[in-house]
Amino acid sequence: MTRNGPFALLFNALFVLFMAAPLVVVIGVSLTPEGFLEFPPSGISLRWFRAILDNPDFIEAGWTSLYLGVAAASLSTALAVPAALAIGRRRFPGRDLLLATFMSPLTVPTIVLGIAFLRFLSQIGLSGTFLGLTLCHAVIITPFILRLVLASVTGLDRTVEKAAESLGASDFTVFRRITLPMIMPGVVGGWVLAFITSFDELTVTVFIVNPSTTTLPVRLFNHITQTTDPLVASISTVVILFTVGLMFVIERLYGLDRLLVGGEAR
């Protein structure tokens, strides 16, 4: 039983087709046995997936993106959790300003952040370094973690902490044994979302990498703006599968809709 009429279902089908089309095409093209782009492929071959192995540039860029995502998401989580605890549960002067500051990377156009980071990092000599990339990514992804952790913190029943305190737990024990486990889904969900955001980031990163720290999206972008061949399709397919895998992890741990809608509505 669905309450949608036939017209609504047709609309829905077209919408889903529209959303899926570019991804299906990328995966289809990557399976071609030919040396050029064709869709649907004339046969099924993993030739272009093997070709990835002959392109250490891409593999190296993939590892850089992976390390960068883990480092930036972890740094950002470590900073965002205490901030969310303060902002989510206390009223204090400057609170709104702090929140606006931490959410500002969503408002400022990324291209502006990109050149600002480039200018800053090149002045202090960190341009192109892994450290510089990590710090910049941590800034960009903080709003994503902060939003999810804030949702968990404000949804928290504070009497539970009071109960622990009345039973003799110190502030730190309350945090470690009660608060942190209770906000853990938000923290983990935020970390994964931040990791994916960092892993996919192009607009900022394209300004601040150097050849030895090039990330996978930047390498792909540079390649695509020169030429599109089945190789980028097969690499993109790997990226799609990796992301879909992470989506399933999120779905199991936290609920994808909750993660993306921001914890307010299910």
Partner: protein, 362 residues
């Protein structure tokens, strides 16, 4: 010196005094209820005893020790919260064990005491469940076990039964009272439910607008309320505005005469709170169960039965009289005594009338 002493306790939030000049002594092993409507300051008082709110003035002492100098986590007070506040990520046993861990009690003794506490609330079988998978009544028991297992000097109960349905609430009231008496733990209950307060406590402390208005045994508070507010808040009553028209002696047993509109009837001598005026305005209170039916013309006042409601174990009547609409309750011991629309006379024993200081509104 009393076991727990609250003296001059005051809490202001900005200009507003949530609790003002609150004095209360609680004896060891006693069960006292803080009773009042929402916003009367009872929860704030509880929070101050627990250590989650800092008083603006006043003192709290436990066996002469200053409790305010001690942090909430070191006060050794067991609390059952309205929401139960169970740790959702821990099993029932882990919830109960938590307070013992904080006290660095060795594991074998912890296990022993957890088992005892769970047996006390009949939850031995559910030790490994998570709170999520339990009913409201079961969660309530876990919360109680968690608070009692630390052998608290004081047990604070914050509206513990308000989330349960009516039938379960009554069962839990009996059980709670039983456990409290067996353990002999000094208990303070915060509630807005007067039947619950009267059912459970040795004494009720009625609060109104941040102030303590009367502390007494439940029967005493019900039968001899000291103010219009207490009289109306504890149970149902017929509240009439009247005037003393004839003062006789002031000794116990002496009667006076009061007039409500045109009707004049006898009442006990006015209590000292009413003052020495010759003809003071008073609030006259007569409980519905104290009113009796007579034949029309044979009572103190005549009326017409406007409505009759069947409530199982008793009947509730609304009688239109020259005094206003009066409520009468009768035990259900057979068929109803009067029919809707019929005329009746109403009467009451002069000793059951209560005269209270006049206030504009209750």
């Amino acid at each position: 010196m009393a076991f727990l002493e609250l003296k001059g306790l005051t809490k202001r939030f900005g200009e507003i005094a949530a609790v003002e000049n609150f004095d209360l002594s609680v004896e060891r092993g006693e069960f006292v209820s803080l009773l009042g409507p929402s916003g009367c300051g009872k929860t704030t008082t509880l929070q101050m005893i627990a250590g989650f709110e800092t008083p603006s003035a006043g003192s709290i002492t436990l066996e002469g020790r200053d409790l305010l100098a001690i942090k909430a986590r070191s006060r050794g007070i067991g609390i059952v919260f309205q929401s139960y506040a169970l740790f959702p990520h821990m099993t029932v046993a882990q919830n109960v064990e938590f307070g013992l861990e904080m006290r660095k009690i060795a594991a074998p003794e912890r296990r022993q005491r957890v088992a005892e506490a769970l047996a006390l609330v009949h939850l031995e079988a559910l030790a490994d469940r998570y709170p999520r998978a339990m009913s409201g009544g079961q969660r309530q028991r876990v919360a109680l076990a968690r608070a009692l297992v630390i052998r608290p000097e004081i047990l604070l109960l914050d509206e513990p039964l308000s989330n349960l349905d009516a039938k379960l609430r009554e069962e839990m009231q009996l059980e709670l009272r039983g456990i409290q008496q067996r353990m002999g733990v000094t208990t303070i209950l915060v509630t807005h439910d007067q039947t619950e307060a009267m059912a459970l406590s040795d004494r009720v402390a009625v609060m109104h607008r941040g102030r303590l208005v009367q502390v007494a045994r439940p029967l005493e508070a019900y039968e001899h309320p000291r103010s219009d507010f207490v009289s109306s808040f504890l149970g149902k009553t017929n509240r009439l505005e009247g005037k003393v028209v004839e003062r006789a002696g002031e000794r116990a047993g002496d009667l006076c005469r009061v007039a409500v509109g045109e009707t004049v009837f006898a009442a006990p001598a006015p209590p000292p709170e009413i003052g020495k005026d010759a003809r003071p305005r008073v609030i006259v209170s007569v409980r519905p169960e104290k009113v009796e039916f007579r034949a029309a013309g044979a009572g103190l006042v005549d009326g017409t039965v406007a409505a009759r409601i069947f409530l199982g174990d008793h009947w509730l009547y609304q009688i239109e009289t020259p005094l206003g609409v009066l409520l009468v309750t009768r035990q259900n011991v057979g068929p109803a005594e009067v029919e809707t629309g019929g005329s009746v006379g109403l009467a009451w024993d002069a000793a059951q009338v209560r005269l209270l200081p006049f206030e504009e509104t209750a």
